[in-house]
Amino acid sequence: MTDPLSPPVKKDPLKNTRMGHVSPGLRSRAARAMAVRAGQGRFVLQVCDYCCTATYPPRDRCPKCWGTLDWQDQPTGATVMTETTIRVTTDLFFKEHAPWRVGSVQLEAGPTAIVHLHSDVRPGDRVRMELKLDRGGNPALFAMPEKETPNMVDDAQYRTFTADPKHRRVLVTDGRGPVGQAMAKALLKAGARAVFLGNGDTTMRFDGEAEMVAHENVEIVPLNVTDTNSVTKLAHQLGGRIDIVVNTAAVTRQSGVAFGSKLTDLQAGFESEVTGLMRLAQGFGPAMSARSDDGTNSAAAFVDVASVYGLTGRAGFAGQAATAAARLALISGLRGEMAQTGIRVISVLTGPVDDVWHQHVPPPKTAPAQIAKSVIDALTRGLEINCAGDAAKDLFARWQADPFLTIREENQ
């Protein structure tokens, strides 16, 4: 069994922070394609279009018949064949984290693979494989115990493949709304040590404020994402203590493009959701990057909660879809930058949120608690993208299958 993770001890200010290396990022294009699926939490291997053989490591042709290959979901069962504990390495990250256990497994899907081993598994054991992303955003096979073992997710190796909120300190950017408040509750339930809840207007009380203030580990902090000074000030004050940022900023107004829209609404939306995202990234990104390998409460993830309609646009909500599209583009750029420093950048996509702005939208709508659950799920599994609620899942599936058809459908 795994020793339970102990809460982080107060840091000796004279002690250097580990630099947070990531392993060499050189990968084949096929491995990058595997990473994309890993970021969605799928367990995939390439399967031959002709003879149906599953293959690994990533190839460009089938080794049995030279047919072309496609990524497909595969059974996750495997048996451990060999193990080793690596004590000496020339890699800077693994050197900091030695000893490190790996082994080879026989996958139920067919091929064998070299994999990271959970501390509770041994040669001969049946295991459940997970396809993870490593700190550099590259795909990694991880062998987990077949059945849950005590404190399983606290395994030191496993924790470097997740951004589990347990013992971590989280900034939720908009605490005035139901999404931010649901987020705070879910984070505390998941073991977060502290939640800093942003308040964009300290002169006005907000619904739920009393309940939030009553939580021992919640602190309301002034944060107006449309104001660079406000973001910079909070970043200076809290930057070195924030391990996860969850950006819940959202400005929803019904709008068309040529019809039924106001330029000022669009501008306000961009200022808050898009420029605001960049302000947060600039304010908190560097300090988080410097602390990505800082022990139990190392900085781990930047999460952005945005509308799934950023993928497609949406009739009647054009402005909101446009800001979401811009957020997705910024998040992709940020992900590339933060992969160099070991911080995960996560998009959680939502359907129409069940709030006052979507009263006339027919169900299914996405409850704030569902969004919070999806964020926690993405953090604990180390995902790159996650859909909150059925509407977002449905749209994402249609978009993956035929992006232009889905765009047409959503804008009619």
Binding site: P57, E83, T84, T90, S104, T112
Partner: protein, 391 residues
């Protein structure tokens, strides 16, 4: 399968070693030039005299054999580049022999050269192969130590072999290195030293691992007539085998390509393993030496502990093994590590060893193993050589 034609009209001669150093500021080109210079000293030949050139290296980037030919002022009518590391010596030998036999070249310099600059080992590992960069090194980045640790872990359990058995092989090789003036590791190694060494990647410990270094090895393949004209002692090639990516369905490597072709080797050589006077095996990790002992026909894998106990692997023993100390004690100079089995075997049967002479050496078995592309060594080869003319 058509049987192998004999290597009539071909001889091997002039084994040279450019003494290894742990780290070098020089390049692979410098070391390759050093090997050519050593061949020139043995033979009196210059750049214009070699009409064949066969090259193996990991650290000559961005150059291949093409860049090396121009760098060294050669103008061959036949050349080859062998990228197979530990199998490159046997493979160079086979290719050069057929080129000479068919008249595509008359005198071929076979050269392996690698440098070892500070940090070049890490860099070589990081970009070694596509499968390793995608699917091996990101897993703890243990390099070949980790891959062979997994192979060893399985081998121990499957064949009831232990570190005690490997100790005897490694200690014997270190004993052999003691008489080799240019071996890098020359401190006597005891059985207890071996067992008490620090773990590197369990169950691989310090003395299971080779020491990466810089160096070069070379030999000449030519006609008997040309060798006579140059006054060189010669050996003949009795038989060879080569096989790549054998037994792809074995989930963990327990055998190499030798096992598939070994009968062809012994039948072409007209003898068996009991008839050889020495084994110059590829020894990047003792598990591979043990695998070769079995796959080359000395014993079954289940009999390995007994076979190792019953034999003496030192130079004067019942089965002299890696008589220069092997890579484990002489050092592993990149691809040159895949040539030292050939140069050392040649020296012993031509009676010009670096260190002590194997008594009455008439037949050498040379075995190569190369390139852990992913989870196992892919390339294997073996050759039997015998003295022809001692001059």
């Amino acid at each position: 399968m058509v049987g192998q034609l004999p290597y009539d009209g071909v001889v091997i001669c002039a084994p040279v070693t450019v003494p290894y150093v742990r780290f070098s500021v020089e390049t692979a080109h410098w070391w390759a030039g050093g090997a050519m210079q050593a061949l020139a000293r043995e033979t009196g030949l210059g750049p214009a005299d070699f009409d064949g050139f066969c090259f193996a290296s990991f650290s000559a980037m961005p150059d291949s054999v093409v860049g090396m030919v121009q760098h060294l002022g050669l103008s061959p009518r036949w050349m080859d580049h062998i990228p197979t590391g530990g199998a490159s010596g046997v493979m160079a030998l086979r290719r050069a022999a057929r080129a000479v036999q068919c008249g595509d070249a008359e005198i071929v310099a076979c050269v392996a050269a690698d440098t070892n600059q500070i940090d070049s080992f890490r860099q070589t590992l990081a970009g070694f192969s596509r499968f390793s960069q995608d699917a091996t090194y990101p897993y703890g980045f243990g390099g070949p130590n980790a891959t062979f640790a997994m192979i060893t872990d399985n081998f121990f359990r499957k064949y009831n072999v232990s570190r005690q058995d490997f100790a005897k092989l490694c200690v014997a090789q270190r004993d052999n290195a003691l008489s080799n003036p240019i071996a890098l590791l020359k401190k006597p190694l005891t059985h207890d030293d071996y067992l008490n060494a620090r773990p590197i990647a369990d169950p691989v410990h310090l003395f299971d691992c080779v020491m990466p270094c810089a160096g070069a090895e070379a030999f000449i393949v030519t006609t008997p007539e040309k060798a006579a004209e140059l006054g060189l002692s010669t050996a003949r090639l009795s038989a060879t085998i080569e096989r790549h990516n054998a037994y792809i369905d074995d989930p963990v490597q327990t055998r190499g390509g030798w096992a598939r072709d070994i009968d062809a080797l012994w039948s072409a050589a007209g003898c068996g393993p009991q008839d050889v006077d020495m084994l110059q095996a590829y020894d990047d990790y003792p598990v591979i030496v043990a695998m070769q002992l079995a796959d080359l026909g000395f014993c079954d894998k289940t009999e390995l502990p007994g076979f190792i106990a019953d034999n003496d692997f030192t130079i004067t023993g019942s089965l002299p093994l890696n008589t220069n100390g092997g890579q484990l004690s002489a050092g592993q100079a990149g691809a040159a590590g895949g040539f030292q089995n050939v140069t050392e075997g040649l020296r012993q049967i031509l009676h010009c060893p670096l260190g002590d002479q194997v008594p009455d050496a008439k037949k050498a078995l040379i075995s190569g193993f190369g390139l852990v592309n992913y989870d196992r060594g892919v390339c294997t080869g073996a050759a039997v050589i015998e003295p022809e003319d001692l001059r």
